[in-house]
Symmetry: C2
Subunit: 219 residues, 2 copies
């Protein structure tokens, strides 16, 4: 892939095709007051880039594709499994107190609650924990399952999903992280096995990598 800075004349032609297209090479040449031959290299660049297409007997028309679209296409190919973190889990019998301790020891903002076999049962965030801690009950006696967001209300992602789609889930549902799951082996039951954790930190780190040009190998 190559990125080419368009010349002012090429920009002008692209704009002309966008607003007036379909338009013939002769018409463009006339408007720019140049010969048809002089335009040939400019039109070739615009056609090669995909911004403009030529249709015989019709003329040039605008496709709407541009540099951004192509980058977008590449970003969409980065998968959750390329950036995800290791999940931090507790069992559903764990006390709120012990779950908070796990949260601090592992320094994570969310802990996943699982049943035997790693089956996802719930998610608890720092926000959930802070709310219950302010309530002032005995956190050592309170099981984490009374404060967790339980299945099937949990928003999840999969290793193969695009990071972009998963990031959109995080933003739209206003959550800090998503459990990365794979369908569990229990036949019939709609259960998930937790295999990872996708957080806003993973997204921010990917943004920094892409912005520093280090994400090249991901594209």
């Amino acid at each position: 892939m190559a990125v080419i800075g368009l010349t002012p004349r090429q920009e002008k032609i692209a704009e002309m095709v966008r607003t007036l297209g379909p338009i013939t090479g002769e018409q463009i040449a006339e408007r720019l007051n140049v010969t048809r031959a002089a335009l040939r290299p400019d039109l070739a660049i615009l056609v090669m880039s995909g911004m403009v297409e030529a249709r015989p007997k019709v003329g040039y028309y605008y496709t709407g594709k541009n540099a951004m679209n192509i980058f977008v296409e590449k970003i969409s190919r980065i998968k959750v499994q390329d950036v995800q973190s290791v999940p931090v889990v507790v069992t559903s019998g764990t006390s709120v107190y012990d779950a908070v301790v796990t949260m601090f020891l592992e320094d994570v903002g969310s802990v996943f609650v699982v049943e035997p076999g790693g089956i996802l049962a719930g998610v608890v965030s720092r926000k959930d924990m802070l709310k219950v801690a302010m309530g002032g009950g005995d956190l050592q006696k309170m099981p984490v399952k009374v404060v967790m967001t339980p299945m099937p209300k949990i928003i999840v992602t999969t290793p193969e999903e695009s990071v972009l789609t998963a990031a959109k889930k995080i933003i739209d549902n206003e959550v800090d992280s998503l459990p990365v799951v794979s369908p569990a082996s229990q036949p019939g039951a709609k259960t998930y096995e937790v295999v990872g954790r996708l957080t806003k930190t993973n997204i921010a780190r990917l943004f920094v990598e892409l912005g520093e040009g280090k994400g090249g190998e991901r594209l």
Copy 2:
């Protein structure tokens, strides 16, 4: 700007110039078993893209620039002020309890503690609050300033800083948000006035916008 998918031959030439350059057009033609004239359009594309440069009497050499670099340059131009949120502040005399209530009412992960005039004094996160709430003191009597991260330990950003640099600060310092500040008017004192809040959510939202092609107007 136009993005052009390179042909296999153009990719081959770029790779040849990268590994063997400086290399003359004749040498490239010979290795590919084509005429010098046949190569001209391919070399023109590579030179226009900036990937390859031609030096008289030396030949073609590789510049290391590519599509990624140019995108990076554009991302670097997005500023903190283009994506920041409104800051949520409490005064330093506020109790921990009231600061937590503010955190829940405003649904934010961090609250900034300010002195009169909006001067930044500290930052408290959900994590700080959870730690003190687990400690079990009387949160209504405890002032927020005893649990906040105080100046000058706070990592800050400014409206004019690039989002990329600010995102890197968030990742490197393992914080959830940065106060966006402008130098305060008190002469001499190294103080900051809080004017905004940059969070991982802002970064994730920008990533989604760019990935959906909606960030075009930011570029």
